[in-house]
């Protein structure tokens, strides 16, 4: 298969409420930054993928609202609904198809203009589940309980994820919610849905991220050193929560295996230098790290306590602050990709990890991690 690389990234600051910006304004800012980062103009972009969601945007054909701002006028353009990593995967396919040398991918969300519980409730089956009033938080609380019951992960370990990631976010100028917390602070915070305290939950934020993917030929002409796409994988599990063993993530295992195989990675624990995973809730960081094979099943909490996932640890995880540090819903995974690019380039400033030859970025679609998308990025071709 041909090679492709990420040659430009652009992130808006993630904020609670961007009162001064429309969807289009946010997208324009991120695209402008990504183009500047790549040393390109919009004329160098062959096609555009926007990532949005009609429910979150309150608009049918939500991609319409950002077509002009993403520079898609008179270009081939398409729109993926779901997390930005999935949009980026389609963008990669369009690049590798030989149809386009460069693909601009954007993902945007304004949580401030949305009602998260109603929107995620609409992802439940209209006949069997929706009227129960379940939403993403309650679904994930069930998953957290199942995971803790099976693996023995503790509330303190969950809280520690929040302490680490909110702490890391303090060093990231784009993060929404940098905070110096203690485990006690997290455990004392309001109980949202047992076992998830308020500080175990990511905020719902506003933000847009853009990346530029290029084929091998165009990557060679980029301003900065390209960050190579070594492997990608995605996979969906069962829809009904009762049809899954919620305490495990089989679809993540499979998505990761696909990505590792493509990247030629045989022992991820040794070969992955840093990871940006989808920590919408604190337990997820632990659970996903195990699903990704970055540590043994049931061991993530203990390793976390030993500092293994700190910026200076064995495997820095969410050095940027992750989703707990700022969660622009549809853009979240795309931010993970952009943050890994930053790390591999050595541009992460105060939260720069030491060894960053190979990084992993992760995105999620659906309820309680039904569908996963895994990206392996590398410094070397």
């Amino acid at each position: 298969m041909d090679k492709a690389a990420i040659i430009g990234i652009g992130m808006t600051k993630i904020e609670a409420r961007k009162v001064d910006k429309t969807f289009a304004d946010m997208v324009f800012e991120a695209v402008r930054k990504a183009l500047d980062d790549a040393g390109m103009t919009i004329n160098d972009i062959d096609n555009v993928i926007t990532t949005s969601n009609d429910f979150w945007d309150g608009r049918t054909i939500s991609c319409m609202a950002v077509g002009d701002a993403s520079g898609a006028s008179d270009k081939n353009v398409s729109c993926v609904e779901g997390d930005g990593t999935f949009g980026a995967l389609y963008g990669l396919a369009r690049t590798l198809s030989g149809s386009y040398g460069t693909t601009l991918v954007t993902g945007h969300s304004k949580g401030s203009q949305s009602v998260s519980s109603l929107i995620t409730n609409a992802a439940f089956d209209p006949i069997y589940n929706r009227m129960l009033g379940a939403d993403m938080i309650t679904a994930c609380a069930m998953q957290a309980n199942a995971y803790m019951a099976r693996t023995g992960a503790t509330s303190e370990q969950l809280a520690r994820v929040s302490v680490k990631n909110h702490g890391n976010a303090m060093m990231n100028e784009n993060a929404h919610l940098g905070m110096k917390l203690t485990v006690k602070d997290v455990l004392d915070s309001e109980m949202i849905a047992d076992p998830l305290h308020k500080l175990d939950c990511s905020p719902v934020s506003d933000g847009c991220c853009a990346i530029i993917i290029a084929d091998e030929k165009r990557a060679g002409k980029s301003k900065k050193k390209p960050v190579w796409i070594k492997g990608v994988g995605m996979c969906a599990d069962a829809y009904f929560l009762g049809d899954r063993d919620l305490s495990r993530s089989e679809s993540l295992v499979k998505a990761a295996q696909t990505a590792y195989k493509m990247a030629g990675i045989t022992s991820p624990e040794k070969e992955i230098d840093l990871a940006e995973v989808y920590d919408a809730f604190s337990y997820q960081e632990l659970m996903w790290l195990e699903g990704l094979g970055l540590c043994a099943d049931g061991e993530a909490g203990k390793l976390l306590e030993k500092g293994a996932f700190d910026i200076g640890g064995r495997l820095p995880v969410n050095a940027s602050g992750g989703l707990l540090g700022g969660h622009a819903v549809i853009a979240a995974g795309l931010y993970r990709i952009a943050e890994v690019v930053r790390q591999i380039r050595g541009e992460a400033g105060a939260y720069q990890a030491k060894k960053t030859n190979t990084g992993l970025a992760h995105g999620v679609n659906g309820l309680a991690g039904q569908s996963h998308c895994v990206w392996i990025l590398g410094k070397d071709r």
Partner: protein, 386 residues
């Protein structure tokens, strides 16, 4: 190295205004099973799935995740692409790129819609900018009427010209057992039907439909092993031209013009009218059948109606358009563009039965939607020479 891609199987449901006999997942599965049977494949052969629909119509968020029981997406890569009316064609273009990339060998593409459970006009109204446009254009019909009026003002066309297109598509639908509306109408009946938004009469426009369509795409490595008559994708393209209603050039479809030029140039097609044998046009209302063939370069601007009246686009004519009956006969929105793709593929593969156009070398399928957006695919009997 990019792969050549072919459609190796298609399937669609029997389309009706209301399918209370199935839920959404079952509706999807009906099309998926039909496509797998057509290709002689099983679900285990499929490496990835692309699904599309309009989630505000269904009232279900994350349809890719919700539908895995019906789509075959369980423990497989599945992705959702949505672009409004163009969705069906967009996901077909998605399937092409996913296979051409070399990442996936066989990709199942699914479009669907259960319009009977939705308020389509209400949902479409939310497509427009909430501050500037939403209160001006309600639903789809008013915008289409503005386009038709602008064209009529420019070229002197009449609602009789529009009616002629409607008569054609509704007659063609008689040959399509899957079509929802299979009733021949006369010019007079179209003109006498209720005026919805001048000049669009009730019989000038598409119905609301429950239905699904599935298409299987495979790379060159396996396409010819699956079928002796694959439908080769020669080119795909699209344009989304603007976001605000006031920016459109009413009376012509600039997105169609630009997309056609891109695709025909790549395929070396200089005289589309002679080189293309059949078109499945996403034409939700009759006047689009006049205006858009001009923008596609089939006939010069202002000559669309004359060409339609000549019978050239009827079955048996120089360039039959919508042998299936088109969206005017069947319109499950998320599937409508994919049905065009499937029907064009069936024409190339020689599987179109009672609606087959003889000796199809090149076929074109299109998607229309968003706001005056065009998606387009060029299908060919022979392998692309590039």
């Amino acid at each position: 190295m990019a792969k050549r891609v072919a459609i190796v199987g298609t399937g669609q449901t029997f389309h009706k205004s209301h399918r209370p006999d199935v839920n959404g997942q079952e509706l999807i599965n009906e099309a998926v099973q039909a496509a797998l049977a057509d290709a002689g494949l099983t679900m285990t052969d499929i490496n990835a799935i692309i699904i599309g629909n309009m989630d505000h119509f269904e009232g279900i968020n994350y349809v890719d995740c919700w539908s895995v029981d019906g789509s075959g997406g369980l423990m497989r890569p599945i992705i959702k692409i949505t672009t409004g009316g163009t969705t069906g064609c967009t996901i077909a273009i998605g399937g092409y790129h996913m296979v051409a990339s070399g990442m996936f060998e066989k990709v199942l593409v699914i479009g669907w819609e259960k319009n009977s459970e939705s308020d389509t006009s209400g949902a479409i109204t939310t497509a427009f900018d909430p501050v500037w446009d939403r209160r001006v254009f309600a639903g789809a019909i008013s915008g289409l009427a503005a386009e038709a009026q602008a064209y009529m003002a420019r070229y002197g066309a009449t609602d009789r010209d529009g009616a002629r297109v409607s008569v054609r598509d509704r007659r063609h639908a008689l040959n399509n057992p899957y079509a929802q509306l299979r009733k021949e109408v006369t010019l007079e009946e179209v003109l006498a039907s209720p005026m919805l938004a001048d000049p669009i009469h009730l019989l000038d426009i598409c119905p609301r439909t429950d239905g699904a369509c599935a298409v299987i795409m495979a790379s060159e490595d396996s396409a010819e092993k699956i079928t002796a008559t694959p439908d080769w994708i020669w080119g795909t393209g699209n344009r989304h031209s603007y976001a605000y209603l006031g920016d459109a050039d009413y009376g012509r479809l600039t997105s169609m013009e630009r997309t056609s030029k891109q695709i025909f140039k790549k395929a070396g097609i200089r005289e589309p009218r002679k080189e293309i044998n059949v078109i499945e046009l996403y034409q939700p209302y009759s006047f689009g059948g006049i205006i858009w063939i001009e923008d596609m370069g089939i006939v010069p601007h202002g000559k669309g109606a004359e060409y339609i009246w000549s019978g050239a686009t009827d079955m048996g004519g120089e360039l039959p358009i919508n042998p299936s009956g088109g969206p005017i006969s069947t319109n499950p929105i998320g599937a409508t563009g994919l049905i065009r793709c499937a029907e064009a593929a069936m024409q190339v593969m020689g599987k179109a039965e009672g609606r087959q156009v003889p000796d199809v070398n090149f076929a074109v399928s299109t998607g229309f939607g968003g706001c005056w957006w065009t998606d387009m695919i060029l299908h060919g009997k022979n392998k692309p020479n590039y």
